[in-house]
Symmetry: C2
Subunit: 188 residues, 2 copies
Amino acid sequence: MTSGSTPLDHAILGLLHKEPRSGYALRKVFAETPLSHYSDSPGAIYPALARLRRMGLVTATVQNRQSLRPRQEFRLSSAGLKALHEWVSAPVTREELTGAGEAIMLRFVFAEQALGAAAAVAFLRSYERALAAYVPELEAYCAAAAGSMPLGARLALQGGVASHRGRLKWVREAIREFRGAPHERKAG
Amino acid sequence: MTSGSTPLDHAILGLLHKEPRSGYALRKVFAETPLSHYSDSPGAIYPALARLRRMGLVTATVQNRQSLRPRQEFRLSSAGLKALHEWVSAPVTREELTGAGEAIMLRFVFAEQALGAAAAVAFLRSYERALAAYVPELEAYCAAAAGSMPLGARLALQGGVASHRGRLKWVREAIREFRGAPHERKAG
DNA sequence: CCGTGCATGTAATTCGTTACATGATTCC
DNA sequence: GGAATCATGTAACGAATTACATGCACGG
């Protein structure tokens, strides 16, 4: 098993490909960009880096060697580059498709089943609010950063915007559907 | 903290709301329905059920009490019902929006950055293939099951179909964009 | 009586989370 | 020199995964 195995490992390998970074710099990326759902916590990053180093996928160059708290800069090794290549070249599987946006739809379904149509609509309104706030935010990020981004990153960001816009459209249609449908009794 | 905390806990509470089930029955649901990305492994389900029982959210009725391997049927307690209500009623947060479909886009972005435009297109083709196979499958499930489903579940399923169709459209547009764009040199 | 499916669990390992602890640098 | 920020880690804990172990029920 020469390839990094967790999503966090993969994200780190990808980021280190662009340029060598310290653990702290990686934390900042995870905290401040749309990669925000990867953990920016030291308890995840530093063990992950140690792991990748043990696996030979990254190398660390230590600065301030004599210091009690030396800074390290991590860069991809050739094995790490190979692992990154294997990861991005692997075919897209069915499982990867299934995960997207699952959890939130589950909440919606159970809202209706456990609390009835009114709760389902309330949930949809909350979803709508969150999306209506998030989409312009993403668009702003997109507009600000698109110029300095490679084509793939720009397309991915635009795909994210489109996806959330599509969701928003679905939410609004779903609300209308519930309005139109005969009210079911509240369960529970 | 009276509410179940993990996604699996929530999924179990929601399923038990509909009807009491055994651990094995829950496993089958996770294995055979679009809830497929929750673990159907005994090492996840049974500890989760034990946890929920400790928290007082579910109760177990034991059949074959004298057997060495008694069957249990789990049902929601009133506290469990309350926890379910709280979960589905909680507002949708920004974090819930961010997670959707992240990992796969990351692979796409890094494919271009690490291997260049040709690899990015290859990735998109793989993505396209997977989606083109999955969407009709979902549609078939939808067509077969829609009649016997409550409105919310049907809408959620249709939303999933629409979302994946939107993705597919994006993938095809992205491929065209890469065709049109001047070829960048292969990095690495 | 033997295999297949139903059914419940445990053990080892690994990863992520939260909270904590510590040191170095920079700017006022 | 004190505060904020940069920077690196550890400890305790919870949860998921894989692999394993066990037992019951039924049909051929």
